[in-house]
Structure formats: structure tokens, C-alpha cells
Amino acid sequence: MKIKLKFFAYYETLFQKDEMEVEISEHTTVRDVFFKVLHKNPHAHQLFKNTMFAVNQSYVQSATKLNSDDELAFIPPVAGG
């Protein structure tokens, strides 16, 4: 099944795009997807610790399982105001 990834701020710069589709299997979690797309990044674990995640525009835990057509956003530290 497919999900859509949304990238903002630091992640948009890192991936040089603001969204992408990824193919995942059943029972895949948010954490699984994060490490799948950042598997080549030497800072992946540090980044993970400082990133929040949203599925369909609501914050979720990284252990959350994904469903087909979900929209998963990587939320780096926010800086409004």
C-alpha cells in the first residue's frame, strides 16, 4: 500500500522536496518509515529523537501503525512566533 510523506523546513531541505509517496507493507509503523527513508543518514537516530510525527494532521506516537493513503508528516522542532 502507499502513503504520502510530507516534509517541512529542515526535512524539506534535506530531501529537496516537500512530499513523496512510499510503498509500505501492512503493520508498518511511523518509526519504520522514518528509518526507511533516512537509512543513509548518519544522524538518523539523533534526528528521530527530535522529531514529532503527524498522521492525517494529528500528532501520533512513532509506534503508530500506518494505513493505506495515510499522510505522514515529519515535524522537526517548531519555531513559530
Binding site: Y10, L47, Q57, P76, A79, G80, G81
Partner: protein, 141 residues
């Protein structure tokens, strides 16, 4: 409580909000304007670019507003896009019967904005460099 909560891409005109927030039952009005300053951490800032996950940002802002109490009218607006020095990035206007509730609500909304609302800012410096605030350095600690 009546409320105006939104993320906008055009300059924020505060005057209509000042009129709207007035109410005969209120004796206290608190207004906060967050503006772009020309320096940060010893560097000269020339402009800021704000980015938002807009639909979610508005949802999170509304959740924060839903948690404040004893407020009659509330304006909570954040601007995105490229802002120049002195431009208003965020405005909060609150009316309440007594000052304590309005002051506390203002602090609560601004603290919440800086912890859960998905809005980011990129600083541009006079050295031609730029960086996302709070992102890379904090992410790699």
C-alpha cells in the same frame, strides 16, 4: 468564547481585530504582537521566511484556544511567507472581564505556539547565509 484563529499569508492588519475584540462585558484587553527583529544570537537578520503545515497548524492553534478559560473574545493569527524586519508575524488579542485571565491566556497561547504548532522560520543573514531556526542544530544535539 468567540474566536478568530488562522494562518495567513498577507500582512496582518491589527486594527480590525482591536475593534472586534472589544466587548461591553470586558474590562481587560491584552494584545501581543510578535515582530521580526533584526538580530538573533549575535547575527544580523535581514528577513524571515515562515513555513507552516497550514491545515494542521490551524487545528493545533484552535486546540490551544479551546483550552483557555474566562476569555470573551480571542484573536490568534500567524503569518507565513517572507517577512521583513518589523513585520508582524503573530498577533494575539484577548478580552476578558479581569486582567489575570487575559494575561495568562496570552502566555499559554504563545508557549503552545512555540511547542506544538507546526510552523517554522528560516532566518536570512547579512552574510547571505540562512538557516531553519530550531531545526538542524537542535535535531542533532
Amino acid at each position: 468564547m468567540s474566536q478568530i484563529v488562522k494562518v495567513v499569508s498577507k500582512p496582518i492588519d491589527v486594527e480590525p481585530y482591536r475593534k472586534w475584540v472589544k466587548h461591553p462585558s470586558c474590562g481587560a484587553y491584552v494584545e501581543f504582537l510578535g515582530c521580526v527583529r533584526n538580530h538573533n544570537e549575535g547575527l544580523s537578520v535581514t528577513k524571515l521566511a515562515y513555513q507552516a503545515y497550514s491545515e494542521m497548524a490551524e487545528k493545533e492553534m484552535k486546540k490551544l484556544v479551546d483550552r483557555i478559560r474566562n476569555i470573551t473574545r480571542c484573536v490568534f493569527v500567524h503569518r507565513i511567507g517572507t517577512l521583513d524586519i518589523g513585520d508582524i508575524a503573530v498577533c494575539v488579542l484577548l478580552s476578558s472581564a479581569h486582567r489575570k485571565d487575559a494575561f495568562e491566556a496570552c502566555q499559554f497561547l504563545l508557549n503552545g505556539l512555540k511547542s506544538v504548532v507546526p510552523i517554522w522560520k528560516k532566518e536570512f543573514y547579512d552574510t547571505e547565509k540562512s538557516k531553519w531556526i530550531g531545526c538542524k542544530d537542535d535535531c542533532l544535539k
